[in-house]
């Protein structure tokens, strides 16, 4: 099954090319030009991974990361940035970013990370489902 990816970047041309390249690698890509648009999309659609620029107008990557993780903790987020400082990387990882990639990124490396993100998301969802079932069984005296 193909990976469902949300690509978020305020650079329209970057979105156009990247989505074409990712689609050629079998991914199902949705694009958003702002963090606000991304937040609205994750409420309506299901994604395996989010690839997001770290510096965007209105809401920066760190704020967007927090907002997405609050809404959908199981979502795996890979941040793309022009320059990654150690401080920012650590802060983002603490908030829950799965990984960091510097622009220009290698598409094959990004593809591997997306596959890893999907696998991690599936593990989290499975664990959540198991917990729900256990909870239901306990409540019904099973």
């Amino acid at each position: 099954m193909s990976e469902k990816v949300l690509l978020v970047d305020d650079e329209k041309e970057f979105l156009e090319i990247m989505s074409e390249r990712m689609a050629a690698r079998g991914m199902e890509v949705t694009t958003a030009e702002s963090a606000g648009q991304a937040l609205s999309l994750i409420g309506k659609q299901s994604f395996d991974a989010i690839i997001m620029d770290f510096q965007m107008p209105e809401m920066d990557g760190m704020e967007a990361l927090k907002a997405i993780k609050d809404k959908k903790p199981e979502l795996q987020i890979i941040l793309l940035t022009g320059y990654a400082t150690v401080e920012k990387t650590v802060e983002a990882m603490k908030i829950g970013a799965m990984d960091f990639l510097e622009k220009p990124a290698d598409i094959e490396a990004l593809t591997k990370k997306i596959k890893k993100a999907k696998a991690e998301k599936m593990l989290i969802v499975e664990k959540q489902t198991e917990e729900k079932i256990r909870d239901i069984l306990q409540r019904h005296g099973g």
Partner: protein, 229 residues
Amino acid sequence: MGTLEIETAEQGMKFFGRMSASATHEIKNTLAIINESAGLLEDLSQMPGNRKSGNQTADRENSLPAHRVLDISQRVTRQVKRADLVLRKLNKFSHSIDHGTKITDLGETVGFVLDLGSRLIEMQGTRVELVPPVLPIRVETHVFYLENMIWKAVEAACDAADGNKQVTISFGNDPHLPLILFSMQAVKKPSMDALFTSKQDKYLMEYLNISIKKNKENNGFGLVWPKSI
């Protein structure tokens, strides 16, 4: 070097770092698009039908559509031009340090600072409109620190702007009484109260011989020079 010079130089370094970081980030974005464009061409060339078969007629028929190649090459050209523009601005900015003190046109300098910081302004979500002066307004000052002061004022105005989040920058009408005006439709009161009250701001204003005047309605302020040449 006295405290005034040291404090001013430290602020200048921070300003230089902030502007350079923003410019290099933009160049990285253009490089990312150029990199992906090259990658896309490679992807397209690897698609079935585009691999060289040895049969000249078949290769010609199956070759990459010309419009796609043209589209990608135009994209690369656009990004190269964009990066070149950013580098030109950064180069001009770097040279403003070597200029030291000289006679400078205020309208041009404000325009340049806005252009240099356009990405940062956009990130903040504020719109800045520049109304150029009717007549040239010239002051003799340190160009780099003037740019620093203008940027501080732009940031302060953007920070204080409320309502439609628009800042209008205009100039006084008397070319002998240099004045840059920052007006907002509505302002956040705490931001206006805190305007240029820090020790660093005062050092920079003293160094440039500039004073600050808030307007009566308290929805704007001006940078005022004692006189021009």
